[in-house]
Amino acid sequence: MSSFLPMGPKILVLTPEIIVFGGSVVTSIIGLSRSKTLRKSVPLLAAITLLASLVALAMGYSHESAEQAGVLMPHFNKIIKAIILVVGIGLVAISVGHIDRRMEEAVARGATTFDPMRVVRGEFYSFMLLSICGAMLIPGSPDLIWLFLALELTSLPTYIMVAMSRGTRRAQEAAVKYFFLGAMSTAIFLYGFALIYGSTGSLQLSTIREVFADQSARGGIDTLGITGLILCILGFCYKLAAAPMHFYAPDVYEGAANPVTGFLSFIPKIAGFSALAVLLSTVGWSSHAGFSETGAPINGLPAPILATLWMICALTMTLGNIGALLQKSVKRMLAYSSISHSGYMVLAIIAGPGLGFEALLFYLISYGVTNLAIFGALSGLQKRGEDVESFEELSGIGRRYPGLAAWLAIGSGSLMGMPPLLGFWAKLMLFMAGVQAGHTPLVIIAAINSAVSVWYYLRLIGVPSLSPPGTSSEGVTKGPSSWPRFAGAVASVAVILLPLFASRILGNSAEFAPTNAKPTSATTPTAPVATPKQTTENSRQETPRQDNTQIALHSSPTRL
């Protein structure tokens, strides 16, 4: 058993999570208050909690203490937490006014009296905070147990949130689908954990990394470990909504209320990507990858893992996009779009630390903020107390609510990667990372996919602003609270303005390497620069370069 970690730095590092957890307890209680003002302050409280947590993160987090606490990737950890908290505040804002909407309206009308048994607002925000707390815990996990628990802490509240987000049958159906399939995926990655444990004999991620390094130095990670990793990746795919575990997403996103959909499309995703990053950091990447002499990519990931991720990446992008093309419901469309974005981000995971992680984080920021803009606009609308879901209902709302249409348009533009919006820069970095890692074919697939995606994003731009208002869109009015719209507005402005600060947000890419990893980030040029003259003369038949400093280039097939 590896050494016990000192408690002090650990708590220091975990302060933000602790604050969030505390907040969740408080909100769950306050939500039951008879005072309307207090009840109404629940989202505010949740937001304040997240803000406090953010402050704590900004003030208290240091790389040293994080390293002491066993955090594998301190900088990554910090930024992921920050993203979760910032976007979390926005997610809280867009959900204001949704939960208990009927109940509160009835109370306001005097039709009924307040009944603590029939309200869920407190619980809802409490679960939200819990889920956020779980997601925050993931990137810093030092061992598999922590990782497992954090993942479950992220997921379990979301199941309930889906069910309680609105009282319709669809929400309940979504919840049950989400829950059962989630349980299955949990079992899959749990089994994967078991296999990894069996292969390495440790639950500590740092130890696992050493063992894997040792194994690959001796010919490759053994079959048990590889199988475990692949199972884990597949299990995590559920959180990412990545193929082949993405099938639930359209149904669940459609069934849940708009703000919850917004939540689902971001928090589990970032949790999944953090988990993937943390887990894969045990098998390592080469932080600098390029071409070998033959043009074959050099990448530190073991070949089977790479193959898995490659396939997942390509499939997810493609299935997401082609699925989205056919949708009539905005939320289903956004679900597929969310799937495809997971696909893009897997590319960043493949590219690995350094540029890849930087691209991943930037992409997550971009996706989170853009998501807020879109769901802010969607949540800011209602039709007879119900969510607005289909394109028909959005048709021509730009005439009445130009702002909301604009946010939808800006958000869509960013998602499709239209320069100069945030999404473009994210995609740019992603492609840079992909090309640098030697996965140009994957980048080309991604590029084609983003072109395909234009078709449905254009609908989201065009239908609200360009189509004439139809019968379905006549009853659409503004939602009860202006906070979602406000959040959408802020997010839209951020989508436009954030690129200006991109450099400052990300800091230095060198910090993204796992701290305990071997220094593989030497940026030596790999391929000798071939001048056109040389290349026309000879036909470049050098043998592939064997690079022993890289971890686990090849695994022996005989060990499968």
Binding site: V176, K177, F180, L181, M184, S185, I188, I230, L234, Y238, A243, P244, M245, F247, Y248, P250, D251, A296, P297, N299, L301, P302, A303, P304, I305, L306, A307, T308, W310, M311, I312, L315, T318, L319, N321, I322, G323, A324, L325, L326, H439, L442, V452, W455, H554, S555, S556, P557, L560
Partner: protein, 731 residues
């Protein structure tokens, strides 16, 4: 080493021929900058008449502006001529840089230099003299002729005329081929605008279009020629080119070099309406008659002659090309004469005669007498302008009547005396009546042809003689029908109240006429509209000019030096020409001079006599002859084909325009349904179709999802295992 010019030296038996030793290198002459005004005056006229057009000036102001501008140009040309004389050395006047840039610095191929500069030698002057001179006269004529359009199309007309003179002067004064090309297309534009002057008539619009497009075919040849010249010689400036060419040996050069003259030829044949590109010229008669006179008889159509004369040093390097020019010219002359014999519209008769006479000019160029070609150009300019202007006067007077069967005895109609007699002069000149200028100029060419030793030039000479006979016939067919005989006339279908159909002459081979006004105004209700001083005066002046153009011919005949000859001799066009060794050749025991004198006279007088019989003395017998020809199936095709212009238009329509149009339709269909529909939209549908393929998987059933997920996971794992087993290298 000056091989091409040695010929004139060795055959200096004729004292008339000045001995030129080399093409003189042009002198840059900035002090002659005022020659730019020759271009600038018409340009100013273009602007001013354009303004008149915009301001809807309702007077003859635009006409007089144009006349003044052209007269000014003419005066400047005269000044230039007297300044330099017949034999002045060529000068280059640089006006401003145009398409001019360079790269590298090693050789001349590292720059493309095409400036707006003027190259003035005696060839240029020769052309300028009659272009501006006749231009002025015809403009004066038009001020009266077009008066019905004052306030409507009057300014537009003179705008077009100004554009034409500007472009034509640019063409002949250009010091490089690209500027020449500018003028070349510019005259095409003027032709387009003026032929389509009566824009409400579909036939006029179509004729203008046709003229431009057919000319473009020729222009393509010219363009290719220009490129080839640049590729081979690294420059397109005449002065440099001449120096290069005169240092070259005959027949030297690869395929692309020997292609150059053929390309230029194509351009020249397009502009000068030779086979196979002559088809636009007859249609171009849709334009107002002064335009036909100025552009389509006297000046523009001689641009092709000018081009070949200008690049003659190149042509002499390629004797086969010259022979081609000669043969095309000769055959065109014959061919169009056959058509001209059978037309009833006398303006068209003159159009075909123009083509025919242009054929003579090319024959002259081809057989080696640039002097003959240029001289014939000059004489033809005058007598053909005269003919057209008289035709215009008749149209003007008889409401656009052009059918020679519907007019008769005009010389007795009051006011048409001058017209008739000037027309007679024109016809005599055209039919090469002995000792007329037309005969003198034609003889120079025919003598040269009959004296030719190779390329079958002798045959060409005989063709020329036969054509001369036919020419005499059809020229006098017109005159005897229209001006002689009993007085009888039917007006055309236009009335002067409706300016739009002014000049809308009857078209007897079935072209569409938009306004089918009642044609049968009985003649006694109709009062012919006699020409006044401007038209008559111009007719007389041009007639006098036509006489005057005979002078060089007489002097030539008497072996004296004359200005036309000297001017040619001191231009690049003379270099290498092979004239004046014709006395060696003997046919029927006569030398070519005697031969032409005899047979030319016979042909001319014979033609006139036949015409007199059929069209003055026994008018009915002409119809009988026609009926007799038509009655016999074996020879029926002759009159039919001749009257239908040998179906060349129809042939082009069926073989070129039709297929292209069908191709256009097919391609449009392809574009719409294959490129756009199948390819683009098809590819566009792929993603959605793929999406539909996967749609059943999202069936909403929990177990279904679970199975798909598990199955998908299994597939991914299977794929990984497969990759692992087969390659050992991931992705």
């Amino acid at each position: 080493m000056i091989p091409m010019l040695s010929i004139t030296d060795t055959h200096a038996d004729s004292p008339a021929h000045a001995v030129v030793t080399a093409i003189v290198n042009a002198i840059p002459s900035p002090e002659l900058g005022w020659t730019g005004w020759i271009l600038l005056l018409p340009a100013i006229s273009v602007v001013l008449t354009g303004l008149c057009c915009a301001l809807r000036v309702k007077s003859k102001l635009p006409g007089w502006i144009t006349v003044l501008a052209l007269a000014g140009s003419f005066a400047l040309v005269l000044k230039l001529y007297f300044l330099r004389g017949d034999a002045g050395a060529p000068v280059v006047v640089h006006l401003w840089d145009w398409m001019n840039f360079s790269w590298g610095d090693q050789n001349k191929w590292h720059a493309l230099q095409a400036d707006v500069s003027l190259y003035v030698d005696s060839l240029t002057l020769f052309w300028l003299l009659f272009v501006t001179g006749l231009g002025t006269l015809i403009a004066i004529y038009a001020t009266e002729y077009m008066e019905a359009d004052v306030g409507k199309g009057y300014a537009r007309f003179f705008n077009g005329v100004s554009i034409f003179i500007l472009a034509m002067c640019t063409l002949v004064m250009a010091d490089n081929l690209i500027l020449l090309y500018l003028g070349w297309e510019g005259v095409g534009l003027a032709s387009y605008l003026l032929v389509g002057y009566y824009y409400k008539k579909p036939s006029a619009v179509a004729a203008g279009k046709k003229a431009f497009i057919v000319n473009r075919v020729g222009d393509l040849g010219l363009a290719v020629g220009i490129w080839l010249i640049w590729v081979n010689y690294g420059t397109i400036e005449f002065n440099t080119l001449f120096q290069v060419w005169q240092d070259m040996e005959r027949g030297v050069g690869g395929f692309d070099k020997s292609l150059i003259p053929y390309c230029l030829m194509l351009g020249a044949f397009g502009k000068s309406a030779q086979l196979p590109l002559y088809v636009w010229l007859p249609d171009a008669m849709e334009g107002p008659t002064p335009v036909s006179a100025l552009i389509h008889a006297a000046t523009m159509v001689t641009a092709g002659v000018y081009l070949i004369a200008r690049t003659y040093p190149l042509f002499t390097l390629h004797p086969d090309a010259l022979a081609t020019v000669a043969w095309v010219g000769g055959l065109t002359a014959l061919f169009s004469a056959t058509i001209g014999m059978a037309q009833y519209d006398f303006k068209r008769v003159f159009a075909y005669s123009t083509i025919s006479q242009l054929g003579y000019m090319f024959m002259g160029l081809g057989v080696g007498t640039t002097f003959g070609a240029a001289y014939h150009t000059l004489t033809h300019a005058f007598f053909k302008a005269l003919l057209f202007l008289t035709a215009g006067a008749i149209m003007h007077g008889f409401a656009g009547q052009l059918d020679l069967r519907k007019l008769s005895g005009l010389r007795k109609v009051p006011g048409f005396k001058i017209v008739s007699w000037t027309m007679l002069i024109g016809c005599l000149w055209l039919s090469a009546f002995p000792y007329s200028a037309g005969m003198l100029s034609k003889d120079v060419i025919l003598v040269q042809a009959l004296g030719g030793k190779d390329h079958g030039f002798v045959w060409l000479g005989w063709i020329g003689l036969i054509t001369a006979g036919m020419t005499a016939y059809y020229a006098f067919r017109v005159w005897f029908r229209v001006c002689a005989g009993p007085v009888f006339y039917m007006p055309g279908e236009e009335t002067h109240d409706d300016h739009d159909t002014h000049d809308a002459h009857h078209d007897d081979h079935g072209a569409q006429i938009a306004h089918s006004a009642p044609a049968a105004n009985s003649s006694h209700e109709f009062h012919p509209h006699a020409p006044r001083w401007a038209m008559n005066g111009v007719l007389i002046v041009i007639m006098l000019g036509a006489f005057a153009t005979g002078i060089p011919g007489y002097m030539e005949m008497r072996g004296q030096s004359n200005w036309a000859q000297v001017m040619m001799a001191h231009s690049s066009a003379f270099a290498g020409s092979v004239q004046a060794h014709v006395t060696d050749a003997v046919n029927f025991g006569m030398n070519p001079h005697q031969l032409v004198e005899l047979f030319g006279t016979i042909a001319s007088l014979g033609g006139i006599a036949i015409a007199m019989y059929f069209h003055l003395l026994q008018r009915k017998s002409a119809d009988k002859l026609r009926a007799w020809l038509l009655a016999h199936n074996s020879i029926r095709w002759i009159p039919v084909a001749m009257e239908n212009k040998w179906y060349v238009d129809e042939f082009y329509h069926a073989c070129i325009r039709g297929p292209a149009w069908i191709a256009g339709q097919i391609l449009h269909f392809t574009d719409k349904h294959v490129v756009d529909g199948l390819m683009v939209n098809g590819i566009g549908r792929i993603p959605a179709a793929l999406g539909r393929l996967f749609q059943p998987l999202y069936n909403g059933v929990l177990q279904g999802y679970a199975t798909t997920m598990a199955g998908g996971a299994a597939l991914v794992v299977a794929w990984v295992v497969y990759r692992w087993l087969t390659s050992g290298v991931g992705a």
